[in-house]
């Protein structure tokens, strides 16, 4: 089970409290986690990455195990601690102006 932490506004939009837990089929990559997230919470489509190009929105960041994965290719595999649920995958609103 993959644990995902969403920023405040997206938790409200998705109407969830706390962490989200997702089943991810196949290799656990950034793209696979986001695909699973959007499949379960369709209202989040377009809020984290572009509807069509799936490019990350500029003011959104992806953190995992103290690393910033925002600029890594979406097919980058996530660390074992994310895959086995020890650590959460963080979707973060960039600090710009915050």
């Amino acid at each position: 089970m993959i644990r995902v932490v969403l920023p405040y506004h997206l938790r409200n939009l998705a109407r969830v409290n706390g962490e989200v837990q997702l089943e991810v089929e196949g290799p656990v990559t950034v793209r696979a986690v986001l695909d699973a997230l959007e499949a379960r919470y369709p209202a989040l489509r377009g809020t984290i990455r572009d509807h069509d190009t799936l490019k990350r929105r500029p003011f959104v960041r992806f953190f995992a195990c103290k690393e910033d994965l925002s600029l890594e290719p979406p097919e980058t595999g996530l660390p074992d601690a994310i895959v086995n649920g020890e650590e959460p995958f963080l979707v973060v609103g960039a600090m710009a102006g915050g």
């Binding site: 109407r15 379960r40 919470y41 369709p42 377009g46 509807h51 959104v60 960039a94």
Partner: protein
Amino acid sequence: MSKIRVLVGTKKGAFILTADGKRRNWKVSGPHFAGWEIYHMKGSVAGPDRIYASQTSGWFGQIIQRSDDGGKTWNTPGSGPEELKSPEGMPKGESNKFAYAGKVGTHKWYDGTQHPWEFKRVWHIEPSLTDPDTAYAGVEDAAIFKTTDGGKTWKELAGLRQAKGHLWQPGAGGMAVHTILLDPKNPKRIYIAISAGGCFRTDDGGKTWKPITRGLKSPYELPDPDVEVGHCVHRIALHPSRPDVLFMQKHWDVLRTDNAGEQWQEVSGNLPSDFGFPIDVHAHEPETIFVVPIKSDSEHYPPDGKLRVYRSRTGGNEWEPLTKGLPQKDCYVNVLRDAMAVDSLEPCGVYFGTTGGQVYGSANGGNSWNPIVRDLPAVLSVEVQVLP
């Protein structure tokens, strides 16, 4: 007795102000969508408890919200209340998808070069006059979209961008379709305005559009002051009884047309400044109009630190300041283009919101004003509904 519902969009959420027909005692509901920019909310004339809201964020993009109970509860369209009872409790709509039709193309950028169209946000939602499920959305970068399923899906009326869209350019606030006026006598006719593209009209329900800018002059903003497109139109307004008569607050100049935009005449007259953003028409007097003069495009605040609404009872040219109840010293707020509205009660109510977070209301056509609220976030939009 009738009720009044004022829909206020702000930089940090939505607020709903309600009162009875006397318009003295107000209740404030909100913030809804706290922390998000609410560019605009508007209720359907055909079904007043249907309200659309544009919820937007520089971080997370565009969300369309819809209420079917007058603003008590909200959903992203496509997720009915019954779906929200599921264990997931999750809206299912894709209502936030605005995709330009066909080849995206380019428009002028701030530096004068061409720049690809990029969707940023919805500035204005205009519900159909006859069908609560149909609405139009004016967006940045400038384009108009239409929904016929209550906001679940949106389709661009791409003919607008064929009207010399490559020559449009963003104003300081961006390049957006910020005004949409539906002709109540001719369902095929729609007027829109863009900063800084100009003013456009369709007579075939949105398939084709033409600029309606003859008579506009922009000598300080454009190399050719009489050019067909590129004028920075801040707002247009009409009275439902006379949809061929339009009033305009341009970047500089207040104007009117009596022939559906074929020719405009300046009616700034004795205004202390003819720069400003909103303009609106009295609900019962088609020749009575309201503007809020702002000192200049370099200083977005009222002249002399006095917040004054100016009213003309002659369709322009002759203006009187309305000051009773408004701050007449040390006031340096702005009133944005979508932040003024009128109600249809007798006497006509007039409302406007400021960048300082005040919403002022007048229950007597502007003769006197009272603050309904004083300390909201900066107000982006104000709309009014009269309820039975």
